[in-house]
Symmetry: C2
Subunit: 394 residues, 2 copies
């Protein structure tokens, strides 16, 4: 990693960077790193004959989505119907809503399909939900495509991949009622807790075999299964084999973050987003620097707490994004971050006076970005060149 | 506490509540509890001859502020300049911006005072910041009122209360440059970690004596100190003496939350906000219920993790807000909450089928409310009666 320059008087009186005009705290997005991260996963998946379905929940921004999607029409994944509506209104057509279906949402899903022209699919993992979709489809005379969620690693939800009765029962209820059984989907959420090549490759294979196996079971029951979808940022980068898989999903790969660096999917230098902040106080007696980015700007995510290197609420960099020794945000109040040297770490190479600008790299890009209404996009010269809006809410 | 009714078939076919029309996840605000919580602190402070300066960062909403402020003009406390601008535009006049000053923000602070007509004061704790204010005031020929932040408990920042040299040096720099030294302010942030009456009373007395002592030191140096400000929700409710204090600040007291219940400032039944959510899945083999409120709706705050009762990411209630046995949100992904029975706890008294509506009480009201763009306000009959908007950003 490049080392930080000292914030010397000379540098502080040098020609002013456009960064100086951005109020703190603010969310910065390095477009060069964003594009590099996207190209990396595309280049990896290209020869493996699987389609990339980016998860748009990380960015919630059409400008980022246009860089990440393989076509302006998709395919895409979303985590809320608000995202589905927003991206559909911007022309994205092939969308999967990736949170288990609440039947009350079917009317809104129907409206997105009908009024916004998006081919929006839902996921579910119970016969009860399949019956609700079936009733809605029969009552409304409209299709709803469905992917059955498979549980590959006990992370959260899904049908067990070795449960052919439930799989077939869900599939038959959908097909008999005129819904569309579009396939199966799984997510190796437990891969976020791994950090060795062997464990990551094993998680990817477990994810692959669960999805491919469930697809086989459905087809053996005479049911269709055109889409076989897997994905998480770690498994997308470490899978060695995608036999039986048609598409791979990933979200945080666009931005990366300290959790992904801790897993070993990226380096700290790959992280494309950061929070710009100002020094607002010092407590030398306690070894503290106070900044104006608290959990409202950084999020409360402590995803690195369980990793080998605990980054607190974020890793502290200079204004240009170069880590400053072992400084981390060790505590966060609503609008205050407390910066200290990590236990046993090195002091920063320079003074950080009142008003100095710093950047904080996030533990979890999805959570930190969600605290902000827009990205200040930095071009290849490191200067702000655009503001891209994000959406929020449900 | 009232016990939960079972979600029986009978009840589910009863006349439909307006709650059914609210999409999930959503933020609910019980207006009756809100008013009761505000009245409680006002009634406590009234005879103690101190003014209540509510912190508006908890609600970020003018409708809530109008109930909490003792007059439409204030006094009020804010945590961002965005809040200062918003509340000033709605007629609030007496505002303290309660985050240590970054000198780059002085132009914007000046504009709020000049263009929006608010008497906006800032806080600082260093001679460096006082000099920056002094330079700005001399250059612009406009006043900026300043409160010196005092550190009463090592929580975060502030001048040590027994450091008369620093206090007097900051005060003199301000006065000599034509800024306005308006007083001192301290915040017993460490009180959030307490839970016994004795410890809370001691924290309140420590907060009082630090502020009153610093005020005395300033006055002994011939400097003015009209305002002597203390406050946190726990100390505001447990202080026995406010001698030498002119005003008390508190924020979360309006809504309360599980952290405050754990400290002993309120009961669970006092908590005025909750997140409405829908059941979207079951994993009986793992004892899990999955809902559509994850950390995006609940926040990542785990403030009860350090308390005697760890509430996970929130305490689960039925649709009317009555706790359902020992169900808590034990894990949270972006848009998924995983509900389990707390270790050693009782099962809920009823089935929670797919589509059932639940309410989650938050660990930290400021953090959970910040994830939402508006409040669905429930009237005294428990029915939705209004939507109140929140602001966000900086």
């Amino acid at each position: 990693l490049p080392t930080a320059e000292c914030l010397s008087t000379e540098r502080r009186t040098a020609p002013q960077s456009g960064l100086k005009t951005i109020e703190t705290p603010s969310l910065l997005l390095d477009e060069t790193k964003l594009k590099r991260n996207i190209a990396r996963l595309r280049e990896r998946l290209g020869p493996m004959k699987v389609t990339l379905r980016p998860h748009l929940k990380t960015s919630k921004c059409i400008d980022v989505a246009r860089l990440a999607l393989i076509s302006s029409r998709g395919p895409a994944m979303v985590s809320t119907l608000r995202e589905a509506e927003y991206f559909a209104a911007h022309g994205v057509r092939d969308i999967v809503y990736g949170v288990g279906l609440a039947p009350d949402k079917l009317d809104r899903i129907g409206a997105i399909r009908r009024d916004l022209g998006a081919d929006l699919a839902v996921i579910l993992d119970s016969h009860e939900q399949a019956r609700a979709v079936g009733s809605w489809v029969r009552k409304n005379g409209e299709r709803i495509p469905v992917l059955i969620e498979i549980d590959c690693d006990g992370h959260r939800s899904g049908v067990l991949p070795h449960d052919p009765e439930t799989l077939a029962a869900i599939g038959r209820t959908l097909v008999e009622n005129g819904a569309e059984l579009r396939g199966v989907l799984t997510h190796a959420g437990e891969s976020y807790g791994l950090s060795t090549l062997e464990a990551l490759e094993r998680a990817a294979e477990q994810e692959r075999s669960a999805a491919a196996g469930a697809a086989t079971l459905l087809r053996e029951s005479g049911l269709p299964c055109p889409i076989v979808s897997v994905g998480s940022t770690p498994t997308a980068h470490f899978a060695r084999d995608f036999s039986g898989i048609t598409e791979v999903r990933a979200g945080v790969f666009m931005f990366f973050d300290l959790v992904q660096a801790g897993i070993g999917v990226c380096t700290v230098d790959d992280i494309a987003i950061s929070v710009l902040t100002s020094v607002i106080g010092h407590r030398p007696d306690k070894g503290r620097i106070i900044v104006d980015a608290g959990w409202m700007a950084l999020s409360r995510d402590r995803g690195t707490a369980r990793q080998a290197v605990d980054q607190g609420y974020g890793l502290v960099c200079d204004e240009k994004g170069r880590p400053l020794g072992d400084l981390i945000v060790s505590e966060a109040n609503q609008e205050h971050g407390i910066i200290t040297i990590r236990p046993g770490g090195k002091a920063p190479p320079c003074e950080l006076p009142i008003g100095a600008r710093l950047r904080i790299l996030p533990n979890h890009a999805c959570a930190t970005a969600a605290e902000h209404a827009h990205y200040h996009v930095l071009g290849s010269d490191g200067e702000p060149r655009a503001i891209w809006k994000r959406i929020s809410g449900w």
